[in-house]
Every structure is written in C-alpha cells, then in structure tokens.
C-alpha cells in the first residue's frame, strides 16, 4: 500500500528493537546522566541534571537516533521548575523519549540544548520569557513573546497580574538611525513589519540590508500573543478548551487544530472515539487542509506576483467552496468548534445525499482547477526563475530546527504524522505522502499543491464510507463523563499533522478538571525559525518569497 513508509534500518541505533523502543537500553546509554525516571503516557522520561542537558541530548541524538526535538516545555511545581525536551525521530515519530530537567525554585538555571538542537533556541527563549528559567550557554537568551521591558514571568504561580507594566516602543524609537555593523560597511537597517504588505500578519523582521541583499534577519514575534496556553489552563477539559484551538491557526485549519487537542486529551483521559466519528473527523480535517493550502498558494502568489493577481482571487474563490462545505457541516466558517472529546459535535447535515453530492461536485471540479494553477503558477517560467533554488533549506538544517509539515517535506524529509504516528481513520485509507527534493521555495509550493490532491483522495474515500455506513451504527460520540478529572500528575504529549506541520499538545493533569500545564507546540513557531537560515545572503524579494513559502500564521506562532 502506498502508506507503507520505506523505513530506514534504524537497528544500529541504541534502544531500537523489533518490539519497539527499549528504554532500558537508552537508560544504559545515558548512564550516570540519569538521576531518575518518569513515565508519561506517550513516552518514558529520563530525569537529567540541569548542568548536563546538552550531553544527554547529544547522546540521544547521535547514538539513539532521536533527531527531532519536537518541543521544549517549561513548567512549575511547588518545589521545582522543570524543562521537558520532547524528542522524536523523523524516521519514526512513534519512538519518543522525554528528557526531564528539574531545576531549583530559588535559582532556576539549566544548560541549554541549543548546541544539539538549533530549535531549542526559540523554545528556550519562550520558556525563559514565560516561566523564567535561565538557560546557560544559550546564545541569545532574551524575551521572545513579550516585550523586552516586561516585568516578571507570567506563567509562574507567584506572578502578579495586577503589576503595572511599561511597554515602550523602543524598537521603533528611531527606525531611521544609522546602522553600520562594521566600521566601513554600507549596511542599512530596515524594519520589515510589523505593518508590511508581505508579513501576512503582525510579524516584525529586523532586517539588515547590504544593498539589495539581506545581511541579517531577526524575526521579532509576539505581537499576537494572546496567552492561549494560560487560557487553556483555566478552562475545563470537557468543553471549555475546544474552542481555543480554532484561534491558533485561524486560516481555516480549525478542525486540524481541534484534533490536536482532542487527541491529546483523549489519550490523557483514556477516551475511545467511535469509528464513524473518526471518519467524519478525517473528512472534515482534510477539507480544512485543502482550504489552508489554497490560501497558502494564493498568498504566496501575492508575495511573488504583486497585489491582486488572478491567482490570489482564484484560490480564494475555490477555497470558498470548501468553506461552504465546512459551514454546512459545522455551522461555522472560521471558528468551527466541531470536534468534541470522544467524537464530533453532530452528525452530517440532512439531507445527507445532498451533502455528499456537494462534496463530490467539489472533488470532481478540483483536478481541472489544480491544472489551471499549474498553468498559471508552477508552469510559469518567471515564477520558476524566482522560486527554483531560492530560499534553500537543507534537510539536516530543517531537522535541526524541528521543521515539519510542507516545509520539511519540501526539503525531502519524508515525515507525516498522519502516516508515521497514525490516528483517526488515515491508516485505513489509500493516499500518499508528498515529498519534493528541491529544498527551495518551488518545492514547498509543489508539496502544498500535491497535498491538495491527496486530501481530495482522502475526502473521496471518506464520503464513500460515510454513504454506506449503516444507519444504526452512526455513533458520533462515545460515552464521555460530564466532568473529566484525569489522574493526578499524568503527563501526555501528543501531536497531529496540522496544515502547517506537527501541532503538538503537552498536558499535565493535577487531579482537577483543568490542566495544570497546557503547552502548545506550534509548527509555525519552529518553521519560522528557519527563515534566517534560508534568506541570509539572498535578495530582499527572496526573503519575502521564503517567508511566504513557510506559510506561517502569526496566531499560531504567537499563540
């Protein structure tokens, strides 16, 4: 079947056995670095001394093959602070391990993992910003989401919310000031954003130009930070959290995001999801993916073509069709709030036949439309001139930064959680994971366009299944308690393949009906981190094109 992944022989990695991961072998590998063990739902955790983090991560990466630092979670207990490095393998993301680093309350200080995984840079900055853990040997430890002048660390228990904050516009104090990096260099500092036609939201790129080429670029994020994690921590598992995921990646990828929470929470609480609901979830999620990718294509065209081109309007027009289908299903166009723990909110709209017909009409029209896009976009010679071999992201660099989704697949990394860490109804369906080896802007566009075709294949199969589903077996939700109170101190990290890549949720329960810690691993956050690698030394237009090809949504970057 097409879903079979050509698995590389990873047996030379420590801990890999036929039965799965042998954590004892990993413990032996880490040896005296391990001072304790924890058991999370998704993986075993090794407790490591704060001053030997890089060594532990390094051994796991080099000798055990854990090349994907998916997320870094910082949290606070009554007696300690803790950073958790969630490690996975690009070759097989079901092989997971957590590296738990406790630090003292008085002086939370641990070693940075940046020397092993470049992606730890931003993740640790976020941990420092929100939780106040200091990472030694970090190259650039400063606040990332909040302004430089912020007082206190807002996710700490003792944080005083009433405390007045003074936020200056210091970075904009004098945008015209002279900026010479070296004594005789003719470089020029330019603020690209936060209000700029190409940043697709409030992103601020501190850019240093040398003529028309980019000498240095430093993304400044956090303009759209809405304390999503904290809001989720104050909400109950059962109903109150589900609306929030719609607001992370709000480019019509809502159901994909909801699924990330649903998957994590269902694993945390041990809930079953009826098969019928899984099929509906799979279908609606792929509709969201098509809508998201169409918009990504249209806005990328904006960046490369100029404003108000045919492509942008065409993709908006075609996206509208999917939006209507989703509206029929969920009653909403933007904030769907359709999934529920243990299933979905309600069944397909009546009359069912009419709805299936609409979906089929959409699927039938799609190939011709995609052909048109290929004529207009990917077949255009100027477009190829602009996109081929620009914004190059080598696979090993992409892996080090934790890039996932179309960005990773455009760099030839065969990684898709729908297949590699199966959930929903995906394993039962016939579809392919799209990869391109170009590593450039062009490949990323191609991957998205081909993924639209694959999503259409999935939707088509789901419609066939739903149509023949016996009426008495249409169970849309399993039996879920009215109030969910997972056992005290249960921890889970689960991810799904969202529109932009791996969207992961870490949750720790404390025995109440709200999570003690809710951490969102945003794919855009990690993907955006690769921008300086892609665009330093290239031209300004390529910087803009690369940014567009990353397809970030600031709502998800800043959360």
């Amino acid at each position: 079947m097409s879903l079979e992944k050509p698995r590389p022989s990873t047996t030379d990695h420590v801990g890999v056995t036929e039965q799965g991961l042998d954590y004892e072998a990993l413990a032996d590998l880490l040896g005296d670095l391990v001072v304790g063990r924890e058991s999370h739902i998704n993986a075993e955790g090794f407790v490591v001394r704060p001053e030997r983090v890089a060594e532990a991560l390094g051994r796991l990466k080099q000798q055990a093959g854990f090349d994907h630092c998916s997320c870094v979670t910082a949290q606070e207990y009554d007696d300690r602070f803790e950073s958790i490095y969630h490690l996975k393998k690009y070759a097989d993301p079901t092989q997971e391990v957590s590296v738990v680093v406790p630090t003292s309350r008085d002086d939370p200080r641990s070693q940075s993992g940046n020397s092993v995984f470049r992606t730890a840079d931003w993740h640790e900055r976020e941990a420092y910003d929100l939780m106040g853990i200091t990472y030694d040997e970090h190259p650039d430890l400063r606040r990332i989401l909040l302004p430089e002048t912020w007082q206190g660390h807002p996710l700490r228990m003792d944080y005083d919310q009433e405390q007045p904050q003074v936020v200056t516009f210091r970075e904009h104090a004098n945008p015209l000031k002279e900026d010479h990096r070296e004594d005789d260099a003719d470089t020029m500092f330019v603020n690209v954003g936060p209000h700029h036609p190409a940043t697709h939201g409030v992103l601020h790129l501190k850019t240093v130009l040398d003529g028309e080429t980019v000498a240095d670029v430093d993304p400044d994020i956090g303009y759209l930070h809405r304390c999503e994690e904290q809001m989720c921590q104050q909400s109950t598992y059962r109903h109150q959290i589900m609306p929030y995921p719609d607001r992370w990646d709000y480019i019509s990828a809502g159901i994909l995001n909801e699924w990330a929470y649903a998957r994590a929470a269902e694993d945390l609480a041990g809930l079953e999801v009826p098969e019928y609901a899984q099929v509906i979830r799979t279908m609606s999620a792929e509709m969201c993916r098509i809508a998201a990718h169409l918009l990504a294509l249209g806005t990328f065209a904006l960046d490369v073509y100029g404003d108000f081109t045919a492509i942008f309007m065409y993709s908006t027009r075609d996206r509208e069709v999917v939006q209507n289908l989703l509206e029929d299903l969920t009653g909403q166009r933007l904030m769907f709030n359709y999934l529920r723990l243990g299933g979905v909110a309600w069944d397909l709209p009546e009359p069912r036949e009419e709805y299936f017909e609409k979906v089929r009409d959409f699927l039938d029209d799609l190939p011709a439309k995609l052909e048109e896009y290929h004529d207009l976009v990917t077949g255009n010679e100027i477009f190829q001139l602009r996109c081929v071999n620009t914004g190059v992201l080598e696979p090993d660099v992409a892996k080090s930064y934790g890039a996932t989704g179309p960005v990773a697949r455009g760099s030839g990394i065969d990684y898709d959680l729908r297949r590699d860490d199966p959930y929903g109804y995906y394993p039962e369906l016939d579809w392919d994971v799209v990869t391109e080896d170009g590593c450039d802007n062009y490949s990323r566009v191609l991957v998205r366009m081909k993924e639209i075709e694959e999503s259409a294949k999935i939707i088509g199969q789901c419609v066939d299944l739903l149509e023949e589903w016996p009426e008495e077996e249409r169970e849309i939700q399993s039996n879920v308690p009215r109030t969910l109170k997972p056992d005290n101190d249960t921890e889970v990290y689960r991810a799904v393949e969202a529109a932009k890549g791996e969207l992961g949720i870490y949750m720790r329960s404390d025995g109440t009906d709200t999570p003690a810690r809710f951490k969102i691993r945003s794919p855009c956050f990690s993907n955006l981190q690769t921008l300086p690698e892609m665009s330093t030394g290239e031209y300004i237009p390529d910087l803009i094109a690369s940014l567009g090809s990353l397809d970030i949504v600031l709502g998800e970057v800043d959360r």
Binding site: H196, P197, T309, N380, P541, I544
Partner: protein
Amino acid sequence: MNWGLLQQANNSTNGSGNGTNATNASGGMGGGEVQTLPDTLASLLGLGDGPLVTFVMGIVAAGLVASFLLTLVAVSGIWGKRKITAAFTDRIAVNRHGPFGLLIIVADAVRLLSKELIVPDGADRPAYDIAPIIMVSSALLGFAVIPMGSGIQLADPEAGLVYVFAVASIASVGLVTAGYASNNKFSFLGGLRAVAQNIAYEIPLVVTAASVVIFAGSLRMSEIVAAQSATLVSLGPVSIPAWYAFVNPFAFVLFVAANLAEVGRNPFDVPEAPTEIVAGWQTEYSSVYFVLCYLSEFIHIFLGGAIIATLFLGGPAGPGPEALGFVWFVLKMLAVYLFTQWARSAVPRVRIDQLIEIGWKGMLVLSFANLLLTAVIVGVAF
C-alpha cells in the same frame, strides 16, 4: 545619448538607403505640411498666424489634449483598472455608484484629494514637492508631438521621436528625487531600483525605435505614420497595411516588452514591488501628491501606448473616414493599456538582479541585433 543614437541611426539610413528610400523621398525632411492643432484652431478662429497667436493657440491646444488625457486617466485609472482587474480575477468590482459604477470616479477623486497630506519628518522639502510634478509633466510633455489623428497634433518637429524619449526619461529624475527626498528607506530602495531599471530598459527601447526610424527614414512623427500607410500584402478584399508591427514583428515584441519595464508594470514592477518594499518610491506620498504619482504612472502607460501606436501600429490609421483617426488612436492606446493590466494580473515579478540581467544581457543585445538586421535589410532591399 538618445539623441546621438538616433542621429547615428538616421544618418546610416540616409547613407545606406542613398536617397532611394521611397518613404524618405515622398516625405521629405524639411517640409512642415502637416497642419498641427494650434494652426487649425487659429485658422478656425480666423486669427492669422502671428507668433502671439501661435503661442496662445498652442497653450489652448495643449490644454485640450491634456484635459482629454486626464479624463482618460480618470476613467481608465480609477474605474477601468478596477473593472479590468476584476474581469481577470473573477470579481465584479465597483457597480454601486451610478451606471456601471462610473460615479466611483467622482467619489474617489474627492476621497483622494480630501485626505491629509502627510509630509514625513526630515523630508527634503523642495525636492519632495517637486518630484511628483516632474513625473506628471514629463509624461504629459511627451504627448506634444504625438499625431493622434483627426488633425490633433500639437507640434510636429523634425526630431519628434527623440523629443518624446527625451522628455519621457525625465521621469527617472522625478523617481530618484521622490525616492531620496522621502527620507524613507523603502522609498530610497525603490528610487534606486527605478533608476537602475529605467537605464537598463531605455537603451533597448530607443535602439529598437531606431530600427523603425531606419524604415521610415525620418524622426518626424507624422512621417513615421505616413510611411506605414502603404499596403504590405493584399489578401483579396482585405489589404494589410505596412504597419511596422507587421513589417518587423520582432522589433514590435521587443519594444512592447521594454515598454512594460519603462512604465514599471509586471513583470517589471520592481520599483514599487508592493510586497517587497511596501510601495517603493511612492511609499511616503499621500493625498494630492499620491494622486500626482498615480496620475504620472497612468499617463506614462498611455504615453507608452501612444508611442507604440505611432511607431508600430500605424498611428491613427484604421478603417473608415480619416476623421475617425482619433478614435482608432485612442483604441490602440487603450489596447496597450489593457495589455499592461493583463500582464499585471497574471505575470510574476522578476527579481531586481534578474531584471537588470534581462535588460543588459538580453534586451540590449537583441535590440542591437534587430537594428543591424534592419539596417542590412533596408540597405539591400531599397
């Protein structure tokens, strides 16, 4: 430089053609038999032809032509552009104000003019104010020598074509002035890009035009038009005129492409490049100044269309009586305008280094090859 190139081309024509060029002979170099619009006005009013009368009538005629152009820009720039772009992008566009939404022109004009004029801190004041005026006037001045048919031509100097290119390229000065005077880094980048682009594309443009001059044997606009009135081939009842677009399609394509760069439209809109450098040189212009910038862009597009129509599409020639010439001319100009909007809707923008490379390594070489070829053909055939 333009002048020198064209002179050279002209001389070489005379040399190689050796006076046998038919059009050359029929047109003559010294005559001024074409009646210009000021003359017509003067004679209609029975005012004789003193220098004062010529001066006053020249002003009046220029006012008439400029008013027409501004009206054309208002209709096509504010209303037509939206409708055309909407048609390309599957939308409806303005349709609420007046018939076909035409009253949006009034609404937009009022809106734009009533906006606050924000002058950035540290702008180089006289230069910042003058730049938009330079750009608009350079485009308008070009129309002085364009034969628009039905007897509408303000002047018909011997070096008409050179004059058009000379005044049109004054706009580059306006662009760079606007760029640096705005005290904005995006404007600055845009201004520099505009100058680099204009230099890279002006030369192929002028050299390609020179190949037309070789054919026509004259720089005088009216004679270039007259030279295209002959019949190229007759297909039964339909006779195809000897427009230079048909005689030398290669030069026509080159010229149209270079003209896209000259007016800064996709794929060559890098001086503005909205998604890269916000709005390029016009980032800091608002209200009336913005209107002037906008106006100059559109008049430049129309001037480009007028030059293309005159050099390659037989000027005001078309079926029907000669009095309809003006209509045909405007239609040809609008066709070129439509083409620029089409390109804008569907063609990606090239990168600045690619743009310069296409200009210097591609277009320049091709245009000189075209010039040489034309000179050889004219020398051998006539």
